[in-house]
């Protein structure tokens, strides 16, 4: 659980947050400003049956790490295929999908090919941001940009509008500095300030990037050193949802109007901070692996103040 001052509140958000921690999945519903989350099994399913309001959902997948082949998951392409199967099997077709980085393990052309071919089977538009593993080709990210950089700025950041919300894909894995964490940099922050200029404060904002934009574990590099500058630019918006990957586990923090959420990987889990000597891949029994991998669905409902997030594992525990 996060260690911010909201964690002990026994209000709706607090209760929902705890549910997420215990839970099997989260759907984000964007409904007018305040994010809302629900477990997919049980309560979430009941809620889904209860209302079919106008709105839309989108999906988040993350950290597919195609090319990884170690004991923590010898075949991440197979688990990515299972995740994509879940997406294709959803009763309501999502508007689009975001991938929050570490598409590949080593930025190799074949790894990008395998990931893209599998992900494209959903026939959904996919909005990518890179993870640090996607920028380790010989030309420091050229391979990624050639594939996914169309209509992006700098090292691959961009924004778009859909369903009445404004979506901002940021890159915080390029040009990292010794001793630091993730970094956005001056150029991207200047672009961000310009991008949101003139937008009404009532516009729901969804920001997505690979490394969390809140500090989860500085000694493991799980944070972004200049994220506060980005959040300062965005603070006037009534609904801000920040979606990240990188840490291969679900974590959520709600702070005022801002909901921070991290998605599971489709490849392998990583340990909770402080529970292991390093953040490397966590080996779990083979029959448990699919309970710690998964996808995230985010539902956007008009006229309501919340996004509903549902994290769904590939298999129930």
């Amino acid at each position: 659980m996060s260690d911010d001052n909201t964690t002990n509140k026994i209000d709706r958000r607090g209760a929902l947050e705890c549910m997420i921690w215990a839970g099997t999945g989260i759907v984000w519903t964007l409904s007018g400003g305040v994010p809302k989350s629900s477990q997919l099994l049980g309560f979430g399913a009941a809620q889904a049956a209860e209302k079919k309001t106008a709105g839309f959902s989108f999906l988040q997948i993350s950290d597919s790490h195609i090319g990884f082949n170690k004991p923590a998951n010898p075949d991440p392409l197979a688990t990515l295929k299972e995740a994509i199967g879940k997406v294709s099997g959803l009763p309501a077709k999502p508007a689009f999908m975001i991938h929050t980085g570490d598409i590949t393990h080593l930025s190799k052309p074949g790894q990008f090919d395998d990931a893209e071919k599998t992900i494209s089977e959903t026939n959904l538009d996919v909005h990518y941001v890179p993870g640090e593993h996607d920028l380790v080709d010989e030309n420091n990210g050229k391979a990624y940009l050639e594939r996914f950089g169309k209509n992006t700025q700098g090292s691959g950041w961009y924004s778009f509008d859909d369903g009445g919300a404004h979506f901002i894909g940021l890159v915080n894995v390029g040009n990292l500095k010794a001793g630091g964490m993730g970094s956005l940099g001056d150029e991207q922050l200047a672009w961000l300030a310009d991008d949101i200029k003139g937008k009404p404060a009532s516009t729901p904002i969804v920001v997505f990037a690979h490394i969390p934009l809140w500090t989860i574990a500085a000694d493991w590099g799980w944070g972004t050193e200049d994220s506060a500058r980005a959040l300062e630019l965005l603070k006037r918006f009534g609904s801000l949802t920040v979606l990240n990957g990188h840490i291969h586990q679900v974590m959520q923090k709600v702070e005022g109007n801002v909901t921070f959420h991290t998605a599971r990987s489709t490849a392998f889990p990583q340990p909770a901070p402080g529970t292991a000597p390093s953040p490397g891949p966590m080996l779990v029994p083979a029959d448990k692996l699919r309970t710690v991998l998964g996808i995230t669905s985010i539902e956007v409902k008009h006229g309501k103040a919340a996004l509903a997030i549902t994290d769904t594992p590939l298999a129930s525990a």
């Binding site: 080593l106 593993h133 010794a178 493991w220 590099g221 891949p281």
Partner: protein, 118 residues
């Protein structure tokens, strides 16, 4: 016979070399302690050893023993490895004396330092 005499000769040489080194050490007891080996291992997102002193001309091998890729990047650009997958290594020969701070380009919280003496 030939091989035996060669063996004797090299044995004699080893002995004299050892004596010479011992004499040198005795003459300069305040010499800095140089690394016994020239390998830096990467284990659990840590460079080991983290700090190392070597003589100019020494080649250091950085070996990644984690099951996640790492890289070795010198802070001022003196060298930069590619992403090293498990059991891959990168070697750099330090010809110029000085202090070399390095970090992992993927996980910049991982840092180390090599001091190169003349």
């Amino acid at each position: 016979m030939l091989s035996l005499s060669t063996g004797l000769a090299s044995g004699a040489c080893r002995l004299s070399c050892t004596l010479a080194v011992a004499a040198a050490l005795a003459a300069f007891p305040a010499l800095p302690v140089y690394a016994a080996d020239t390998q830096v291992n990467i284990d659990n997102f840590t460079f080991k050893p983290k700090d190392l002193t070597v003589k100019a001309g020494t080649a250091i091998v950085f070996l990644n023993r984690d099951d996640i890729p790492h890289s070795v990047v010198e802070t001022n650009g003196a060298f930069h490895s590619k992403a090293l997958d498990t059991d891959e290594s990168f070697s750099y020969t330090f010809t110029k004396p000085g202090t070399y701070d390095f970090f992992c380009g993927l996980h910049p919280q991982m840092k180390g330092k090599i001091v190169v003496t003349p």
